[in-house]
């Protein structure tokens, strides 16, 4: 026989004011299976909880119903109390006499009657509760970070410094990402590489970090704490152990006229190359598409000159399989090319460039050695027009969002130009100046006031070439919309920050969701900004939305601390309120017929296929299995299962059925 204890709380006058606790306790005492029923002013108080604990011990209770406030309020409290008295916490239920009864009804007999019913319902439920034990999922304490930009680097370092192994995967030959391309950074104008490269080196040397550059994620399976990643390490065509990065191969390579990705196409590079001098690792790759040997079968010059004989033309892509417990996605962004803007010259005027181009022009390590020269003829421009919001905030162009960083870097660009070319004139066309951020507004004011950058509020309708100069036709909306026409030598478009072309493919590999702009979606826009709705996968940086460096870094550290939190125990403990597919003795094994119609109803991919086999490995049947690591306990599958083969612990069919019958 069940031995249920009922504990009715007065909650001072809150319940006792309209409900008669004594009557409720007395009525409850008569319910079949109830062996103990009392009422007390404050059940949640120390003495109140002791009443429960004592009763559990003395009356050997098998279940407890606390008739008090909302379970959303005190269920944890009373379950803890039960646990302390040696009763499985999941054998304790609450009847909500306060929020759902005393606070919402008059002091009439019907109210007390309702209270009695509510208690009866819970008594019937708790009789059918089963002891539940928190679910333990083993955790592989190794994280994988996708993307070696500043966000990825920060996340990797933070996790590594927390003492956990990290695998950093970068698709380019070097880590560093876009930040490595930047000249100075707003609002402090400190040199980007100066602050970034030390971090890159730290990554390379960190004992906890394994770096896979020129590599991409092939596939990801498994679940939180237990992922299996397959990484494709693309053939570098050199032996990294032998290569010293001396660079002779690059000097000797006959093919030198390949637009350099790092310089946004403004500079050239050989077919065997390291993207930039401070690259990490400082080992070249052979760009097979442009290598004479790979194309024509002759050359091998690099091989001839390599002092350490490190060239490996026959090297193959390598697939690396690794178990990881968590994944941080930090794959970053790209910018719209100038060719996206027919009205700005189809990207055919060489002197209409993107912000990224300008960064390279302004960078001391850039193709012009930091001198602002226009691409077409190398002249130093006397007039430069900067256009903020090129594509951004323009639904007609399919980009309705704000790229967020453009206002700031445009101000920076104008400033840098004025510093480098004091006699030059800088104009900025803008819609609004969005300079929210520490020292940001001040920075923009400085550009306007100290560096005399001319800010024109209005959009540019057209840019076209006339006699070697660029005619910029726009409008000044502050001069009651008067058309303005400027002749410029160089135009810099702050083109929209967009997700990578293959963002969707990645999202599908990771089974995470993404928005209409192909940015990855966080689990909750406010309260879970670095988690994704697939447990164990976190997001950092501009692959989630446009961000500047400080934000990206902050989010990366956030993601890293989430990972560290996940890795803080050997096992992941989760609420046992999860769905379970029944198992039965042979020959039934399970009443599940394996139709898997429940599969698509699960938002968490928690439903797996389990093959039941004989000892000699012969397949008997395939049935569903709920992965407790992934299941969040919504019970949608339970309501779908025709044969009632799935049930939800804590809200079993039996329990809820009993509640209904108790009405």
């Amino acid at each position: 026989m069940p031995r249920i204890g009922v504990f009715v709380c007065h909650c001072g006058e809150n319940i006792a004011g309209t409900v008669d606790p004594a009557a409720v306790a007395e009525a409850a005492a008569r319910f079949p299976g109830v062996v103990h029923s009392v009422h007390y002013t404050y059940m949640c108080s120390e003495p109140g909880q002791n009443l429960i604990k004592e009763a559990i011990r003395e009356k050997r209770l098998t279940g407890v119903v606390v008739a008090a406030c909302s379970p959303r309020m005190h269920e944890p409290t009373f379950r803890r109390a039960c646990a302390e008295a040696g009763l499985n916490p999941y054998l304790c239920e609450m009847a909500n006499l306060r929020e759902h009864c005393s606070w919402v009804h008059e002091k009439v007999p019907a109210t007390t009657q309702k209270a009695i019913d509510l208690v009866r319902i819970q008594v019937e439920k708790v009789k059918r509760n089963r002891p539940l034990y928190p679910i333990k999922v083993p955790v592989t304490k190794r994280a994988m970070v996708l993307g070696g930009g500043i966000a990825g680097i920060q996340a990797a370092l933070d996790i590594a410094n927390a003492g956990h192994k990290v695998i950093l995967v970068e698709r380019e030959p070097s880590i560093g990402g876009h930040m490595a391309q930047l000249s100075e950074t707003f609002p402090t104008l400190d040199c980007s590489q100066c602050i970034l490269t030390p971090r890159m080196v730290e990554v390379a040397q960190h004992p906890n970090i394994t770096l896979y550059t020129y590599s991409e994620l092939e596939s990801l399976s498994g679940f939180v704490g237990n992922f299996k990643a397959r990484i494709r390490k693309k053939a570098r065509s050199i032996d990294e152990k032998l290569c010293t990065g001396c660079g002779v191969c690059m000097q000797k390579c006959p093919t030198k006229k390949i637009p350099s990705e790092f310089n946004a196409g403004l500079g050239m590079r050989p077919a065997i190359y390291v993207p930039f001098p401070q690259a990490v690792p400082n080992k070249p790759v052979i760009d097979r598409a442009n290598c004479v040997f790979f194309q024509k079968g002759r050359c091998r010059v690099c091989e001839k000159f390599c002092p350490t004989k490190a060239i490996r033309f026959d090297q193959q892509d390598e697939i690396i399989e690794v178990d990881v417990g968590a994944v941080v996605v930090a794959t970053g962004y790209t910018v719209k090319p100038t060719s996206f803007f027919p009205e700005y010259g189809y990207g055919e005027c060489p002197d209409v460039i993107t912000g990224l181009h300008f960064e390279r022009l302004a960078s001391a390590s850039g193709p012009t050695g930091g001198v602002i020269r226009r691409p077409s003829d190398g002249r130093i421009p006397e007039t430069v027009v900067f256009i903020a919001c090129a594509g951004s905030r323009d639904p007609a162009k399919g980009i309705s969002y704000c790229s967020k960083i453009c206002c700031m870097y445009t101000a920076k660009h104008a400033m840098l130009y004025r510093h480098k070319v004091p006699q030059g004139r800088a104009y900025v066309f803008y819609m609004d100046i969005r300079a929210g951020g520490k020292m940001y507004e001040e920075f923009v004011r400085r550009a306007i006031e100290e560096d005399q950058v001319n800010y024109v509020r209005g959009r540019v309708a057209r840019i076209y070439e006339r006699d070697g100069r660029l005619v910029v036709c726009g409008v000044d909306t502050l001069l009651n919309g008067r058309p303005v026409e400027l002749e410029a030598d160089l135009v810099v478009l702050a083109t929209a920050m967009v997700a990578h072309e293959d963002a969707e493919t990645l999202a599908q590999k990771l089974k995470v969701s993404y928005d209409t702009d192909r940015f990855l979606s966080e689990a909750h826009p406010k309260l879970r900004p670095v988690e994704m709705n697939t447990a164990g996968i976190f997001v950092a940086g501009a692959c989630q939305a446009p961000k500047d460096i400080p934000e990206a870094v902050a989010q990366a550290s956030g993601a890293a601390s989430k990972v560290a939190g996940l890795f803080s125990q050997d096992e992941l403990t989760r609420e046992p309120v999860v769905a379970v597919v029944n198992r039965a003795p042979p020959p039934i094994w399970s009443t599940c017929v394996g139709c898997f119609l429940c599969e698509s109803a699960c938002a968490y991919q928690a439903i797996e296929r389990e093959e039941i086999r004989t000892r000699d490995g012969q397949l008997i049947k395939t049935v569903a299995r709920v992965n407790p690591g992934l299941c969040q306990g919504c019970g949608t599958c339970v309501a779908l299962c025709r044969s009632r083969s799935i049930d939800l612990q804590g809200f079993t069919n039996e329990q809820i059925f009993a509640e209904v019958l108790a009405l």
């Binding site: 039934i588 399970s590 009443t591 599940c592 017929v593 394996g594 139709c595 898997f596 119609l597 429940c598 599969e599 698509s600 109803a601 395939t622 779908l640 025709r642 044969s643 009632r644 083969s645 069919n653 039996e654 059925f657 009993a658």
Partner: protein, 268 residues
Amino acid sequence: MQALQEQARKLLEDQTVKVVIGYAPGSDEERARALFVRTPQQAEQLIFDQRCRQNLATYLLKPEVKALGRPAVVAGVATLRTILQYAVENQLQDQAVVALAVDGNGQVTTLSTFSQIEEYLATCPRGLTPEQEQELARIEQMSREERWAFWSQQLSRCLKCYACRAACPLCYCARCITEVNQPQWIPVAADPFGNLEWNVVRAMHLAGRCVDCGSCREACPEDIPIDLLNRLLARETLTHFGAAPGYSLRREYALAVFRPDDKEDFIR
């Protein structure tokens, strides 16, 4: 009929299949019964005419039938749909069964893969026939009270014999909900509540899955028009969710997927 017997004999002779499940004359003029042809000689007993309404796909999942070896099954549209639905619901492997599709004018087509069946069905007419629509409309036109009276009267005859379940190709659960007793969702006795519950559950469990073979109606000893319930939901799931069970191999169960803009005019 000739063509069918011919094809059946061939399949058995060249060992393509071990058994051909088809129809033979039944106990009276009205009925046909299932025939399990296992030797080429027996093939000549096969018939196919308007008597052959039972959905033979039902046998495909029975262990004792599986034990006989790879089967061929004489199939009308409903049976073909059942096979595809089995495929979608993981109950049959591709090429595990050969379908002998017989159309209105006795034409026999041999379909040995799911995709062949899919192609074959692509050309078949879908949705309810005008007659079926009318039958539904007749009831829908009644007042609520009349409908309740009508069905109470109908269901009062239900014996809970579960013949409908036995005849239904998609009632293949290892354990039917009627056999679940913890909790006892459906009372054992044939009382009004239990009968209502059973028939609602049956219809709900077939919503978005029913292939409209009508076997349940055929099987009902009390001739309760239970197929109407399935047909109603077939129509609703089609109109609201575009569900066409058994016509394609796409794993899309209307009640396990959703559109954010599904209708909700009834929700406050």
